[in-house]
Symmetry: C2
Subunit: 209 residues, 2 copies
Amino acid sequence: MYNICMDKYFSEKVINRLTLYHCILRDYIYEGKEYISSKQIATLLRIDDSQVRKDINLLNYSGKSRVGYIVQDLKTSIERTLGFEKSKKAYIIGAGNLGMALAKYDNFTSYGLNIISLFDNDKSKIGTEINGKKILDINSLPDSVLGDGTEIAILTVPGMFAQKTANLIVKSNIKYIWNFTPTVLEVPETVQVWNENLMGNFLQFTYNI
Amino acid sequence: MYNICMDKYFSEKVINRLTLYHCILRDYIYEGKEYISSKQIATLLRIDDSQVRKDINLLNYSGKSRVGYIVQDLKTSIERTLGFEKSKKAYIIGAGNLGMALAKYDNFTSYGLNIISLFDNDKSKIGTEINGKKILDINSLPDSVLGDGTEIAILTVPGMFAQKTANLIVKSNIKYIWNFTPTVLEVPETVQVWNENLMGNFLQFTYNI
């Protein structure tokens, strides 16, 4: 699948690499470093430095000097290109350990993902807060969407409740589901699902061990 | 990257799709269904059914009947091909919400991922259990590896401790790190890192929203 931005096409692999470059740049800034070379990025990710230069050439960035790219400028350039500056509102559906972990993940905000609130059916959790975000009653989901127009649901309920919860999400008029459950969801054509297939990722990694 | 199995090559995309078929088959078995067609799988995943048939042709499976594939046999065939039957031992390093969520994720076991124990530096957690797995003192990591030969570390500590913890993992002689932190790790050539790049995945998904 390809994505359009600024009249350019970015493949999933390019987006994936650019976010990793962004992680490296953020750490460089934290360590007070001003410059970075394509070779340094390439070594950390064990890819070819010509690949790094090719990716960076896709950005609207022209700050390369003799000592390397300017860390801050390159970071900003990636953020603009990947649209981090365009904030997207999302709910976390399921306030178990995984939902809690994602709610605490402050990195989301810097990548333009704005977690509005969590939803659960556990009465002991409803009304409490996690990382400044309220846990609301799952039954109030349709009203919440009406109120703030959130379009993305991050689904983190146990697998056995996944389809039933997805049905409620669809009825609530949410258009995008980021599915962390191990269930393949059945939803209408108008709703898009992104399966965060952890086991698939793991197997790709460990296949040859 | 390509992986070798039974003299065949499987791309990351094929492995990813096969694990999603496996999720569907598991749910079909749970619902007591005996047969499934390539069309049914394709509709759920919104891909072409010729793609599904092509993927299944890569497996050592020959059970297609007029009414479709035999669910149980196809599931077993995917498990054999992807090596689910070959168990791999792993530790979870970091018993925060994400580490806890992964420790509770019973699906791992059916995919051949055997979580031996968790490690943390929080004295209030050390010695307790989560889903039958002990939380051990991070300082005992090198001895544990010596004792049971675990090769995989699933890194779920906060980003700011990621590199320091990775150094300890390397010193403990673990060869594979499944990195859930938003930090790109610096490790020796002999250690492989798989970055679970959640933000990259998210951006691929939401790019056009």
